[in-house]
Symmetry: C2
Subunit: 128 residues, 2 copies
DNA sequence: CATTTCAGATTACACGTGTAATTTTTATTC
DNA sequence: GAATAAAAATTACACGTGTAATCTGAAATG
């Protein structure tokens, strides 16, 4: 397969989230952004950032005396990883039961339904 | 939010899976069923079963000298928990982006598409 | 240059999980 | 009843994660 899966913990994903919104950023900026949505200690955020570095989910390039951080793992890649994990773990790898579950148990607005229909049309057209 | 969320680990869910297929079962039957799909040690399976008891995800009723185990958490409840967790953690709680992601990035067979269409039809009919 | 100040690196520690082994309890068999 | 066997409960231990505190090295400051 193309991308090796990079496990991102829940807390780590909050840090990724700020980098997905804007990058590159200094650690100070990242800490500030994370703290605007949480009450995590600065040390905590820095630890998470370091773990993400260790996993190569973000990269750091020196900029004068600091580093600038940017995501290597993209949000779409991560969403794929997580979705696939749910699909396999919980729905036996079959998409239809998953979608059925969401359709039945999560409220879909008429707009959602219409949107889905368009997606299905597009898929069928693409499929020959 | 009727049911309190019960966190089930990945390994634990394999044990639940056999109970969702058939219940009640003795621990011996559970061990055998789990081992038919894995190479876990009997002790491992029993540990998982015990943790599930501790979480009240299964119940044990005495039957002579053994216990009979049955699930308290249903598969549908668990699927809801996990789906909701993905939705919130990864897709900001919005269903449409999740469905769009699956539609675009996970391969849907023609059969999946047909099935989904039927679901959408059913939803629209129900919606008045 | 000695000192203070930070950014970054290293260490900490409890809890859940994967993966059992050990111990205890209960029941069955000499 | 003593010994054994089977089931259940308790304990073990490493690794990831949440949540920091401490240490280190280099830069700015007096």
């Amino acid at each position: 397969m193309s991308h090796p899966t990079i496990p991102i913990s829940d807390a780590e994903s909050r840090v990724m989230d700020v980098l997905w919104q804007q990058a590159p950023l200094t650690s100070e900026q990242i800490v500030a952004a994370v703290q605007s949505n949480s009450d995590w200690h600065e040390k905590t955020v820095r630890t998470l950032l370091n773990r993400l570095l260790g996993k190569s989910a973000v990269e750091a390039t020196r900029d004068g005396r600091r580093y600038l951080y940017r995501p290597l793992l993209t949000r779409a890649q991560w969403q794929s990883q997580e979705s696939h994990s749910l699909l396999d773990r919980v729905f036996g790898g079959r998409v239809a039961p998953l979608l059925a579950h969401f359709s039945q148990h999560e409220k879909l607005s008429a707009k959602d339904v219409a949107e889905l229909r368009k997606l299905l049309d597009a898929i069928e057209r693409k499929e020959r």
